[in-house]
């Protein structure tokens, strides 16, 4: 196999990893604070992608404006999910929490099918491609990568330098102690859900560059996102960031060497193996 193809796949893997990191970090943020895995998280991304599609293709908005709306929509959806579904079941058994968000997954996918049919839609953007040393790097992959890295840095700053960001980190470390400290849990949950939703909205705006929009997008990226989070250690932000790139590299290189589906299969198998080697995630401390 021509090493150029491998190099290209490796670089594409990194570029994809950036966007996957957004998804993983958003999901991890919510899990770290609320201890609930939003099984329907990537379906929120799907909804925001539809928003971007309709605004930019059907109504002719410029792409950056549609992207901003996607951010806002994501944040609003995050808060809505929290208030309507998560709040009532905060104290239920974990399996019920899983099933509630699972029900949301069915609901969102079917509602999207009902409203917009299963047709794949694309936001067609003609952007240039750059060639470096024989490797083709399309702008449709570079721009999302750059923006996602900026977003990750922004998230880091938010979590470490702002008051509410620090409160969020405190809650994810010890939820009961937080109410003892006088902080309001409800406010923290809402902000966390909003930020998680915002990441989803941003990821949607970036993914729309490369992937087509359809109701079952969640099925395509959902399991992968969960696996990245678990691989990095549920709740562990740095771990999720690293794991995103590991998985995206495996998928990209596996996709080129064998086939697209086998790339995913290998990634999932690696995930399963890693679970046995390091059940707490790759950055977990040895017990």
């Amino acid at each position: 196999m021509d090493p150029i193809f491998l190099a290209e796949a490796a670089i594409n893997g990194i570029l994809l990893g950036g966007v996957l990191a957004l998804l993983a970090l958003g999901l991890n943020l919510i899990f770290g604070v609320l201890d609930i895995v939003w099984i329907a998280y990537v379906d929120l991304v799907m909804l925001c992608m539809y928003a971007v599609y309709f605004l930019s293709v059907v109504y002719g908005w410029p792409i950056w404006a549609a992207g901003l709306v996607s951010l806002a929509a994501g944040a609003l959806l995050g808060v809505a999910v929290h208030l309507l579904i998560i709040s009532p079941i905060l104290t239920s058994a974990p399996i019920n929490q899983l099933l509630a968000t699972g029900g949301l997954l069915f609901f969102l996918q079917s509602a999207a099918t009902f409203l917009w049919t299963t047709d794949h839609r694309s936001v067609r953007l003609s952007l240039p491609s750059f060639e470096i040393a024989g490797i083709f790097l399309p702008a449709t992959r570079i721009i999302p990568f750059v923006i996602s890295i900026v977003a990750v840095i922004a998230l880091y700053v938010f979590l470490t330098r702002t008051y509410i960001g620090t409160a969020i980190r405190a809650v994810s470390q010890d939820r009961e102690a937080m109410s003892l400290m006088g902080a309001s849990p409800q406010r923290i949950y809402i902000v966390t859900s909003a930020v998680g939703g915002l990441m989803a909205g941003l990821a949607a705006a970036l993914l729309v560059f490369q992937y087509s929009v359809h109701p079952f997008f969640g099925g395509q990226f959902g399991p992968l996102t969960f696996m990245i989070c678990v691989l990095g250690g549920l709740g562990n932000m740095v771990g999720a960031f690293i794991a995103s790139f590991i998985m995206s590299e495996v998928i990209a290189i596996g996709g080129v060497v064998i086939s697209t589906e086998m790339g995913y299969v290998i990634a999932f198998v690696i995930f399963i193996v890693m679970m046995f080697v390091r059940p707490g995630g790759i950055l977990a401390k040895r017990e």
């Binding site: 009532p88 079917s110 099918t113 109701p215 678990v230």
Partner: protein, 330 residues
């Protein structure tokens, strides 16, 4: 005969004569729905063998898919009778359960992590089926090749739905029996102890890995058997209906809705979700594509939020509260 047994006997008798009751043109449909309910209750019962002890698997689609596709592929390519195919299918699912279970349980993968690992396995099976589309048929699925006649015991293909009705009823009853055996066994106490506190259980001498592996293997094998039965009845296998996150979640939903810790829970839950989806399908048909599933999802969310101990559990608790003697303080 105690009252409970009398009721059970009457119900059983009713179920046995149902196919002979005159129903006009509706019989085929009623039998079809009943068969679906029995098969999926059987599968749900198998899942609940793990679920009730805290081993919540979100990837039982893997065992379903491995089971159904093993026997289907062996029949289509080698004309191997599904009777043997089913044994091999169960073997394959058991092998998968062991390969997964040993590392999982030895390394204490539990809770959220276990759920997500099983989810990964379910998806791996689905993706493998799709990836190897040259011989599995991929996303388009695989139709079981016909045995050429209306009644073939060798191929387990029957045009008469009543055969499948009685067969699935038999499986369902067997599933109930197995569940009951586990419920009365020492294994149950051991597994409940493990579910509550693994370390404490190990410290009193309970072989944690062995018990967990045992119940997982049982659950996997029975699920695979259910998959084979379903494949034979429908004569068609498809990676999205028999593997992956969708079907796995549906199984879990039905059991939790009906009540995970009770004998009849899986049946109640499966009957309700089947009735719900059939009812919605009839109401909407193909007119508003996706509307039926949307309402289904919405109702599931509402049920989970408002009926946390499942329908069967909630009714049972309500009845129990009513029957408490008012002279004795609670």
């Amino acid at each position: 005969m105690s009252r409970g047994r009398l009721v059970a006997a009457v119900l059983l008798a009713l179920l046995l004569v149902t196919p002979s009751v005159p129903m006009g043109g509706m019989r085929q449909y009623v039998l079809h729905v009943a068969i679906q309910i029995f098969i999926w209750s059987f599968i749900g019962q198998a899942w609940s063998l793990m679920g009730r002890f805290g081993l919540v698997s979100l990837g039982h689609g893997a065992f379903l898919g491995v089971g159904a596709y093993t026997s289907a592929l062996l029949w289509n390519f080698y004309s191997l009778t599904p009777w043997i195919g089913a044994l091999l299918a169960v073997g394959a699912a058991v092998a998968l359960a062991v390969v997964l279970g040993i590392p999982c349980f030895r390394f204490r993968v539990i809770g959220h992590y276990f759920g997500l690992v099983t989810l990964a396995v379910g998806e791996v099976v689905r993706l493998l089926i799709i990836a190897e589309r040259d011989w599995t048929g991929g996303s388009l699925g695989l139709t079981l090749k016909t045995a050429g006649s209306d009644w073939s015991v060798y191929a387990i293909q029957f045009a008469d739905k009543r055969v499948f009705y009685y067969a699935s009823l038999a499986f369902f009853l067997a599933g109930l029996w197995i569940w009951d055996r586990v419920d009365r066994s020492m294994a149950r106490s051991a597994l409940e102890a493990i579910g509550e506190d693994e370390t404490a259980a190990a410290s009193v001498g309970i072989r944690v890995t062995r018990f967990k592996l045992g119940i997982t293997v049982a659950s996997a094998g029975l699920t695979a058997l259910g998959g084979v039965l379903y494949a034979q009845y429908i004569s068609y296998v498809n990676p999205d209906t028999l593997s992956g996150i969708g079907v796995s979640l549906k199984i879990v939903f039905a059991v939790v809705l009906g009540g995970m810790y009770s004998l009849m829970g899986p049946l109640v839950g499966t009957a309700l979700t089947t009735a719900l989806s059939e009812g919605l399908r009839i109401a909407f048909g193909l007119k508003l594509l996706g509307m039926a599933e949307t309402i289904y999802g919405l109702l599931l969310i509402i049920f989970i939020i408002f009926l946390p101990s499942g329908i069967y559990g909630s009714i049972r608790d309500a009845l129990r509260r009513r029957s408490l003697d008012p002279r004795i303080s609670a």
